[in-house]
C-alpha cells in the first residue's frame, strides 16, 4: 500500500513537469515580443533591449526554458505586471477563497450526488426516480455561467427588488460593512455570500454524479453476490448500503477524480460572475491583461490541484478496493 502510494506520487512529478513545460511553451509561442514575458509593454524599447541582453533573453528557447524552470521550481514566480506585487503573494490571497468555494461544493456534490443516485437505483422506475432523472439531466445540460446568472437574478437581484425575506447578496465574498460586524454576523455574512456560488457549482456537478451513481448501483444490484447476500437473509437495507454501495463507490470515486477539472472550470465562471476573489477570476483577468507571470503561475497551480486531486482519488480507490494491491 505504501509502495503503491509512493509510486503514484513519484509518477505525478513528471506529469507536473510536463504541464509546466506545456505552459511555458504555449506562452513562448504566443505571437509578440518574447521580452514582453518579463516586461510591461509600456517600457521604452531601449530599456527592454538592454535588459534583454542583460538577462540573456536573446538566448535560444531551450536555454531560457532551463533557467525559467529553475526559477519556477525554486519558488521564484516573479512579479505581476498589472499589480506590481510578487505573484506568490497574490496567489496566497486568492487560493484560500477558491478552496473554500470548491471544497464546499465538492463535499456537497459528493453527498447529494451519491444519495440521489442510490435512491434512484433502489426505487428504479418510480415517480421519484423519473423526476430526479429529468432534473439531473436539466442541470447536467446547463452552462454554469448561465445558471449562476439566473440564480443571481432570481434569488438576489429580483429578490431585493420584490422584497423577499431571504435576499442573497449578488457578488463578492463579504459585504461592504463586513469589518463592522460582530463575530456571529460575520459568519452569517460569509455564509450568505457563499450560498449562490456554491449552489451553482453543486447543482451542475452533482447532476452528473447522480446519473453515474445511479448507473453503477443498477449494475451492481444485478450482480450475483447481491443475490447471495439476499439468500443469506440479510435485510434489504443492509444489502444495499453495505454490499452494493461499497462496490458502486469505487468507480464513483474515480469519477470524482475525473470531475476535478470540471470543478475548477466551473469555479472560473462562478468566480467571474459572482466577483469572487479567487484563482479563477485571477486567471481570466490576468490573461486579458497579458500579465504573463501571473498567468503561468495560476495555471500551474490549477493543474497541480487537479493532479493532486486525482492522486487522492486513486489512493482512496486503492484503499477501498482490495483487489488493487494485487495487480499493481
Amino acid at each position: 500500500m505504501a509502495a503503491f502510494a509512493l509510486r503514484r506520487l513519484l509518477g505525478a512529478i513528471p506529469l507536473l513537469l510536463g504541464i509546466a513545460t506545456i505552459i511555458f511553451f504555449v506562452l513562448n509561442l504566443a505571437p509578440g515580443d518574447p521580452a514582453s514575458l518579463y516586461f510591461n509593454p509600456n517600457v521604452p524599447p531601449e530599456v527592454i533591449e538592454q535588459v534583454r541582453r542583460n538577462l540573456g533573453l536573446d538566448q535560444p528557447v531551450h536555454v531560457r526554458y532551463v533557467r525559467w524552470l529553475g526559477a519556477f521550481f525554486t519558488g521564484d514566480w516573479g512579479q505581476s505586471f498589472a499589480q506590481g506585487r510578487p505573484v506568490a503573494d497574490i496567489l496566497m490571497e486568492a487560493l484560500p477563497n477558491t478552496l473554500i468555494l470548491t471544497g464546499t461544493a465538492l463535499v456537497l456534490v459528493f453527498l447529494f450526488g451519491i444519495i440521489a443516485g442510490v435512491w434512484q437505483a433502489v426505487r428504479q422506475h418510480s415517480w421519484s426516480d423519473r423526476t430526479l432523472s429529468i432534473g439531473a439531466l436539466f442541470f447536467y445540460s446547463m452552462p454554469s455561467f448561465w445558471l449562476g446568472l439566473m440564480l443571481m437574478l432570481v434569488f438576489s437581484l429580483k429578490a431585493h427588488e420584490w422584497g423577499w425575506p431571504i435576499a442573497l447578496p449578488p457578488t463578492g465574498i463579504t459585504s461592504v460593512e463586513y469589518e463592522f460586524m460582530g463575530a456571529g454576523e460575520k459568519i452569517q455574512d460569509r455564509i450568505a455570500h457563499l450560498i449562490l456560488p456554491v449552489a451553482t457549482l453543486t447543482l451542475v456537478l452533482s447532476a452528473g454524479i447522480a446519473r453515474y451513481t445511479r448507473g453503477q448501483m443498477l449494475e451492481v444490484i444485478r450482480q450475483d453476490y447481491i443475490r447471495t447476500a439476499r439468500a443469506k437473509g440479510l435485510p434489504e437495507r443492509r444489502v444495499i448500503l453495505k454490499h452494493a454501495l461499497r462496490n458502486s463507490l469505487l468507480p464513483v470515486i474515480t469519477l470524482l477524480g475525473l470531475y476535478l477539472p470540471f470543478l475548477f472550470s466551473g469555479a472560473v465562471f462562478v468566480e467571474v460572475i459572482f466577483s469572487w476573489p479567487g484563482m479563477g477570476r485571477i486567471i481570466v483577468d490576468s490573461i486579458m491583461q497579458r500579465d504573463y507571470p501571473l498567468v503561468m503561475a495560476t495555471s500551474f497551480v490549477f493543474a497541480v490541484m487537479v493532479v493532486l486531486g486525482n492522486l487522492v482519488a486513486d489512493l482512496l480507490y486503492a484503499i477501498v478496493d482490495p483487489r488493487i494491491g494485487y495487480e499493481t
Binding site: P14, L15, G18, I19, I22, I23, V26, L27, A30, P31, L137, F138, Y140, S141, M142, P143, S144, F145, W146, L149, M150, M152, L153, L157, K158, E161, L258, P261, F264, S265, V268, F269, V272, I273, I283, V284, I287, M288, V295, S299, F302, A303, V306, V307, N310
Partner: protein, 370 residues
Amino acid sequence: MSTSRIASALLPGLGHVMAGRGFTGVALLLSWLTLLAVAALGWPRIAAIGETGSLDDWIAVVALVLTLALVWGWAQWSLRRQQAGGTIGESQWRIAGRRLRRDPLALIGIAVIALLYLVAVLAPLIAPYDPIAQENIVETSYLAPSLSHPLGTDQFGRDVLSRMIYGARISLAIALIAVAIAISLGTLIGAIAGYLGGWVDAALMRFTDMVLAFPRLVLLIMIVALFSSSLTLIILVLGLTQWPATARLVRGEVLSLREREFIQAANALGMSRRRIVLRHLIPNVLAPVIVAATLGIGNTIVLEAGLSFLGLGLQPPTPSWGNLVSDGRQNLIGAWWVATFPGLAIVVSVLAFNLVGDGLRDALDPRLRS
C-alpha cells in the same frame, strides 16, 4: 410501381403510411411539410435572391433545396428497399434503431436536434431581423419581449431572436466539427494504444493522461487569448483537447476486445495488424464512441459558449450564444431577457444531445434483453 411508391413520390411519407410504416411516414411527412412551410414563409427573400442575396442567403437556399432533395430521396429509397424484399440482417444497429424508436425522450431529443439543424442552416430565411443591424438605438434598445420582438432587444436595439438564430449556426457548427476531430483522433490513438500494447501503449497513455489532467478551460483560455480568436483556432483547440477522453474509452474497449476469440481468429488467419485494427476492432468500438461523441457535442457547446461568454470566443458583433449571455449580463436586472433566452437555447440544445446520447447508449447496450 405500386400505389405507395407513387404516393411517396408526390408526398414523402404518405407512401410509408400506406405501406404500414406509420411512424417513419409521419416523421417524413412532418419534415417535408416543415421545409415547405419555411420555403413559403421565406419566399420573398428567396425570390429576391438574384438581386439582393448575400453569400449567406445563397448558402441557405442551396441548403434548403438539398435538404428537400435528401428527404424526398430517402423516402423513395427506403420504400423501394422495403418492397424489394429479402431478409434484412439483425445487426446491432437495426436492433438499436428499433429500441430507439420506442424511447420517447430520445425521440424528442432527435426532433429538437433536427429543428436546430434546420434553424441553423436556414437562418437567413427565418430570422425576422438582421442580427447585426443597429437602427435607431434610442428607440429600440432594451425593448421587452413583445409581438414584434418576441424575445426582446438588446442594448443596441438588435433583435434577440434573430441573433439567437444566427448564433445557433456558430455554436452548433463549432461543436460538431470539433467533436468530429476529437473522436477521429481519439479513436485512432486509443485503438493503436490498446491493440499494440507494450511501450507504445504506455507512452501514448502517459501523453493522454497529461492532456487529460490539464483543466481544459484554462488551456483553452490561454491559447485563445494569447493567439487569436479565429474560428479555426477555436475549433482546433476544442477538438484537440477532447480527444483524450475518447482515446481512453476506445483503449479500454480494445483491451477487452483484443482477447475475444474473433480477434484471435483473425490473427490466426494471418491478417496484418493494421487490417485487424481498421476492419475488426474499430467497427466494434463504434457504439460507445458514438454515444460518447453525442454527449461530447453537448459539452462542447457549453464550453464554446463559456469561451464566448468570457469574451474569448467569436468577437462581437458576430452572435454566439455565449456572448449573447455576456451582453445580457451588463443589465441583468433591467433587461433580463437578453441573458435568459440565449442561455435557454444552450440548455435546450445540450439537453437534446444528452437525451439522444442516453437513448443511444440504452439502445446499443447488448445486455438489455428486449
